[in-house]
């Protein structure tokens, strides 16, 4: 029942998982063959997929797998690194607790039960981890690591032009870890080419990524039996079915989409059709035929050449279409329909009720529409004309076996997910010490903010700083502030969002003695709505009594930040998005800008390791030092495995020493690797692992239940209610 040493048990589990996933890690990684219960075989190097395929029984292992998959849902990358990093963290923790057992806890071993004592210790560590995650990590990321970041954009202007070679390097590194080593170059080039072909204009790549990520299944065609090198990119959209009727057409081809049968039916759902005589039956059939013909004729008159239908059309419709020179494609899936609609912005054609004279509005143009033969199977090939920034292209993926084709598909899809993540900003929130001049420069009114030497208090997660002797200089300035605030008072933030924001970003500020020495404590959480609440009482009180003394205790420093932003004329309503807003290091609310990358090969890990160690040296609190050391050491696990097979100058100790040396002497780090990887992905991975570790540490015992799981049944009954 109770797992006596949960760290030890977790370590054992993690080590087993590590041996499985580490064989697939990095460019030297190998493939794993999975069989499905149906007998299909699947090749994979995808950590998440492997972990799922194992169907683990051990409770802690299952928890780890659950953590990994929730991380993957977010980022789509890093499952293998997750396990390796977690394993190393557990190893470090285990080593430390073993050591401390002798020294620290030996004296009161009689007073407490051994188990309870351990639990307390883990609780303590997990607290420290939380502190680390919320404060130190972001601080180190922003202050030290930031200067090493490279950008995928070739210049940092507003248009952010993508640098092709950087993207190639990024994708190359990504596919190195995902597909077999004889194919990764080819697949990554294919993907790169695809991406640039699909992106019509420089700026619209985010939209393209979103669309490709959402509709990737419809944008690829898998073909088995051909060598991988036959994979290619095709302009236009390929639908994996044949024409029901095909009439060759040139020039401008108009298409319509229908989502119901064109031929009228005797009765629709919920209605009744009463037949009283044979003649009535015959006339109604005649009418149906005539009506169908009329509609098809009408479509032909409107120059429609292609009919895309989501349902199966009756023989009569197909026949009439053929007579009128209209090609028909039937049984489109809803995903294909939505893709076509997203690309062309075309609404479904509504069968007109009365005799139709008016112009048909819901049509789109295609450049061509022809059969496409792949491996003696016929497909429909459409040259859609796009109305968005996505130029439709398809990837034909070939491979000798289905398992390999599927692996490439998954890897490509994952790559699009990864790129999507990369082009998002990553917010960093942390508590830090600001220097004086920054404070004076930012607030206009509260010139004397440096005089406030009070210690910050922690009340309900947000820091409220008492201003006992805040002096408002004169009324003019006050009025000025007021206008700023009014400019922002129409800002509406949904309260729900606000609550979640405050929940997730509650910083637990622990006091250190360094705070006493200088300056102010600032904390920024993205709950701007709260600030807006604060404005009005603040202004009212000011205007009511224009005294110089103002002792309102509710104002937090966020106000200052807002007024400052207002003065700058920035139009960012809810969140600070780009780094330009917060270029100065002293801002606590910062972000990793979109498109930040670092060279692969454990660069991120070694950098973070180095800076965490140097932070730990400066730090005075023992648990912070301990946690930083643990994490710093564990970080080296990944590069150790990456360079395992390398010898001589490229072995891990050599690389490590060289990196440390260049960091100490402030030289640029020279990497022998050509790939790049996303910083945001690494950061998210780190936080996910720490979260998982906290979960493991806070469990004190595992209770084994031997009963049929009832989850599904419960859920069903709830839904019924």
């Amino acid at each position: 029942m109770a797992a006596a040493g949960s760290v030890r048990a977790a370590l054992q589990v993690a080590e087993v998982l590590e041996t499985v996933v580490s064989c697939c890690l990095g460019p030297e990684g190998r493939q794993v063959l999975c069989t499905k219960p149906t007998g299909e075989v699947l090749l994979s190097r995808d950590g998440g997929r492997l972990l799922k395929a194992l169907h683990l029984e051990h409770p802690i292992a299952r928890m780890m797998v659950a953590c990994v998959s929730s991380h993957l849902r977010k980022t789509g990358d890093g499952a293998k690194t997750f396990i390796i990093f977690l394993c190393h963290l557990l190893r470090e923790l285990h080593a430390i607790t073993d050591k401390e057992k002798d020294s620290f806890f030996s004296e009161n071993i009689q007073t407490h039960g051994r188990h309870w004592k351990k639990c307390c210790q883990w609780k303590f560590i997990s607290q420290a981890l939380l502190t680390f995650q919320t404060q130190i990590l972001d601080y180190v990321m922003d202050h030290y690591l930031g200067r090493h970041f490279l950008s995928i954009f070739s210049s940092s202007t507003k248009e952010r032009p993508l640098c092709r070679s950087s993207l190639e390097m990024l994708l190359g590194a990504y596919f190195c870890g995902r597909v077999g080593r004889n194919n990764h170059n080819f697949v990554s080039q294919l993907m790169c080419e695809y991406f640039f072909k699909c992106t019509a204009c420089e700026s619209g790549f985010e939209e393209v990524l979103e669309l490709v990520d959402d509709c990737f299944v419809e944008l690829k065609v898998g073909v088995t039996g051909l060598p991988v090198s036959d994979s290619r990119i095709i302009a236009g959209l390929v639908l994996t079915r044949d024409f029901s009727v095909y009439c060759p057409a040139d020039g401008d081809i108009r298409i319509v989409i229908v989502i119901e049968t064109i031929q009228p039916l005797f009765s629709t759902f919920g209605s009744e059709f009463i037949l009283n005589s044979e003649a009535q039956f015959q006339t109604s059939q005649f009418w149906i035929t005539e009506r169908t013909k009329a509609i098809m004729k009408y479509l032909q008159k409107q120059n429609v050449k292609l009919l895309l239908s989501t349902v199966k059309q009756p023989d009569l419709v197909i026949y009439c279409a053929g007579l009128n020179g209209i090609s028909v494609v039937e049984c489109l899936s809803s995903e294909e329909l939505s893709l076509i609609q997203r690309v062309t912005g075309l609404a479904p054609f509504v069968v007109p009720q009365a005799s139709s004279q008016y112009e048909l509005s819901n049509t789109a143009m295609v450049k061509f529409c022809k059969p496409f033969i792949l491996r003696s199977k016929r497909y429909v090939h459409l040259g859609l004309i796009s109305t968005c920034s996505f130029t439709p292209h398809c990837i034909v993926l070939c491979g000798p076996v289905q398992g390999l084709v599927e692996q490439h598909e998954v890897a490509l899809h994952g790559a699009f997910k990864m790129l999507r993540q990369l082009f998002k900003d990553l917010d960093l929130n942390y508590v830090t010490q600001a220097s004086d001049h920054n404070c004076t420069s930012s607030p206009v009114i509260y010139k004397n903010s440096r005089e406030s030497n009070d210690l910050p208090e922690i009340v309900n997660g947000s820091i409220q700083r008492p201003y006992q002797d805040t002096v408002v200089k004169n009324k003019d300035e006050l009025a000025k502030t007021q206008t700023y605030l009014e400019a922002y008072s129409n800002l509406v933030v949904p309260s729900v969002e606000l609550e979640t924001n405050t929940l997730c970003s509650t910083p637990t500020v622990t006091l250190t003695d360094t705070y006493q020495t200088d300056a102010t404590l600032r904390c920024f959480s993205p709950d701007k709505a709260r600030i807006m609440d604060d404005h009005e009482p603040f202004i009212e009180s000011n205007s009511a009594n224009s005294t110089t003394e103002y002792t309102r205790r509710e104002i937090s420093y966020e106000n200052l930040q807002v007024t400052k932003n207002a003065r700058k004329g920035s139009m960012l309503p809810v969140r600070h998005k780009s780094l330009e807003m917060c270029t100065s290091q002293s801002y606590c609310f910062s972000s990793v800008p979109a498109g930040c990358v670092l060279p692969v090969g454990g660069n991120f890990e070694i950098l973070l390791h180095y800076y965490l160690l140097s932070y730990a040296k400066k730090c005075q609190r023992s648990e912070e030092i301990m946690v930083s050391m643990i994490i710093a050491n564990a970080l080296l696990g990944v590069p150790k495995i990456l360079y395992k097979s390398k010898k001589g100058n490229y072995s891990f100790p050599q690389i490590y020493i060289r990196a440390l040396h260049s960091l100490q002497t402030n030289q640029p780090m020279i990497s022998n690797q050509t790939g790049l990887e996303s910083v945001a992905g690494k950061y998210q991975l780190l936080t996910s692992v720490l979260q998982c570790l906290r979960n493991i540490l806070t469990i004190d015992s595992v209770i084994n239940i031997k009963r049929q799981p009832q989850e599904i049944y419960d859920q069903d009954s709830e839904e019924e209610l």
Partner: protein, 570 residues
């Protein structure tokens, strides 16, 4: 209520290739494939203890489809071969044996998979670029003005499938038929973009092979009873044809999701029948001579049409609908009411024919790109084998038209390629080792493994204990009978090389394939007349073999790259 059941944990094995069981099963599969390979290959009788027919075959398509494979690694191999066969029809055994040989040879060396895979890929690209280049010594361009090479290609395919049980005379007959059938599918007025027609294989079992024949147009099988009802066909230049894809049986079509209430006394059957007879009247007034229907024609309508001298054939099935509409130029009709005159088509001639015990209705079109290949063989399993072989040959011809060249067969391509690789890796290893990380020794080792895989593939053509030689000039394949004296004058024992291009008249410095030889530059020059005069060349389809080579190496790389096997036991 669905019951939620806890899944059983999977079974995970590391380094699957090192296990003895995997090696044993791989070598069993290799044994099966090798023994089937080539014209002298042994047949396999596949027999299911639970029932079903017994299948005698030596073709990979039939063999692998029936072979139950349990181990995941073998499954990868067999599915990859099957996928190749479904794409190219030919070269399945070639792919399977080469892949097994590669895996086996590379394992013996014991280099790391990374190096092996990298070098295998380099060697493969060396092979493909050589085979695609003009200088290639084992490639013959196809001259479409003579049928010689195409006939050789078809004959090579036929002879390499011994389970068809054909005599030499029958091979000649069938290969001529196949070639004629193929030529009939080429449209007469070819534009720049050719769309090939179709040859439909019509089964005629339990007949002599010599009775097989090719007819232009389409044969529709009809029963004797139906034949009796068909009136003598009047002579005419052209016959008007209507082809229906909608059922003419008088069933009510889809009435929608709601209810249809029929009042008492209203007979929908008669209403529909009226409609059908109206249709019949229209067909008669449009002077249609032949009505074909994919589905069923109502007996009354049939009777009506017969009385008006219109031939009606129903239940032709969906498979022939497309060729029918192509041959006759009709548009399949999906309406019961008015028919547009443009939907009718025509055929040049109509007749009934009897082949064996079967009666056929024969449609001869004006302009033909569709033909029927009546295929006879003595028993079911030999017929199945012959049909597969014919399809393979037809497919190979189609591929040859796309890529107008053929490769030398009979093992000569393999030995020649091996000689070329040996020479290349010795003479310019730097060119192959462009990217870093591999040493020349590693390259030599892998190249030797690769070449010996190719050579032992060629060697598996010999099943009767004979010796295999290769010459030191062209690098071709020569085989000697088993009971030949040991030290002799080679030219007396040898007659022609495997593909039949060279005779033993020349002094070619033969040596045993298994013995160590010095690398040499394989000659690429052909005797000029070879491609024209040599009547009995053994040839292989270029596209199929090239792709087979690529798939074999890719699959071998895939198998060598496996570090774990996770088996889901649920």
């Amino acid at each position: 209520m669905s019951r939620l059941e806890a899944k059983k944990p999977s079974f995970c094995r590391s380094e699957p290739l090192t296990s003895e069981r995997v090696r044993a099963t791989l070598s069993v599969l290799k044994g099966i494939a090798t023994s089937c390979y080539g014209p002298a290959g042994r047949l396999k009788q596949l027999h299911n203890g639970l029932g079903g027919s017994v299948c005698t075959t030596s073709q990979s398509a039939a063999l692998l489809a029936n072979l139950p494979v349990t181990h995941p690694i073998l499954k990868i191999l067999t599915t990859s071969v099957q996928n190749h066969v479904s794409c190219f029809s030919d070269g399945g055994l070639f792919t399977a044996i080469l892949c097994c040989n590669l895996v086996e040879n590379v394992q013996r060396i014991g280099l790391t998979p990374t190096t092996v895979i990298k070098l295998n890929k380099q060697l493969l690209s060396l092979c493909t670029s050589y085979l695609k280049s003009e200088a290639c010594g084992c490639r013959i361009p196809v001259n479409f003005s003579s049928t010689q090479i195409l006939l050789c290609l078809v004959r090579s395919i036929l002879t390499s499938k011994p389970a068809c049980m054909l005599t030499t005379k029958e091979v000649d007959h069938i290969s001529a038929l196949i070639l004629r059938a193929f030529l009939l599918t080429i449209p007469e007025n070819a534009q720049d973009h050719i769309i090939l027609g179709k040859s439909i294989i019509v089964p005629l079992k339990h007949q002599r092979v010599i009775d097989s024949t090719v007819l232009p147009g389409i044969l529709i099988e009809i029963s004797e009873v139906q034949l009796m009802k068909i009136l003598p066909i009047k002579k005419s230049d052209s016959f008007k044809v209507a082809l229906f894809c909608v059922s003419l049986s008088g069933d009510l079509s889809d009435t929608g999701e709601g209810n249809v209430v029929v009042s008492y006394g209203v007979s929908l059957e008669s209403a529909v029948l009226d409609q059908l007879l109206n249709l019949g009247r229209q067909l008669v007034s449009d002077h249609v001579d032949l009505v074909l229907c994919q589905k069923v024609i109502h007996p009354s309508l049939k009777q009506f049409l017969r009385t008006h001298h219109v031939i009606a054939v129903d239940r032709v099935g969906v498979a022939v609908m497309e060729p029918l509409s192509k041959v006759t130029g009709t548009r399949p009709i999906g309406s019961l009411d008015s028919i547009s005159p443009s939907s009718y088509g025509s055929v040049k001639e109509l007749c009934t024919a009897k082949f064996g015990f079967k009666h056929f209705f024969h449609l001869i079109p004006n302009e033909t790109a569709v033909c029927s290949l009546l295929l006879c063989n003595r028993n079911d399993t030999a017929w199945d084998e012959l049909k597969l072989t014919c399809q393979t040959a037809l497919h190979a011809l189609q591929l040859t038209i796309k890529e107008p060249c053929v490769l030398l067969g009979g093992g000569c391509t393999e030995t020649h390629l091996a000689a070329y690789i040996r020479h290349k890796t010795r003479s310019e290893p730097e060119g192959i080792l462009r990217d870093d990380g591999c040493t020349q020794t590693e390259l030599q080792l892998i190249a030797e493994a690769f070449c010996s895989a190719l050579e032992s593939l060629a060697g598996s053509l010999e099943h009767d204990g004979g010796e295999i030689l290769t010459d030191g000039k062209y690098g071709h394949f020569w085989s000697v009978q088993a009971d030949s004296p040991s030290v002799v004058n080679w030219p007396d024992l040898l007659s022609r090389c495997g593909c039949g291009l060279y005779s033993s008249q020349e002094e070619l410095s033969w040596s045993f394939l298994r013995s160590a030889r010095l690398p040499f530059v394989p000659q690429t020059c052909f005797p000029c007349e070879a491609s024209d005069s040599a009547g009995n060349l053994t040839l292989d389809c270029f596209t199929a073999k090239l792709s087979g080579l690529q798939v074999a190496v890719e699959t071998a790389n895939l198998i060598l790259d496996l570090s774990y096997v996770i088996e889901d036991k649920n």
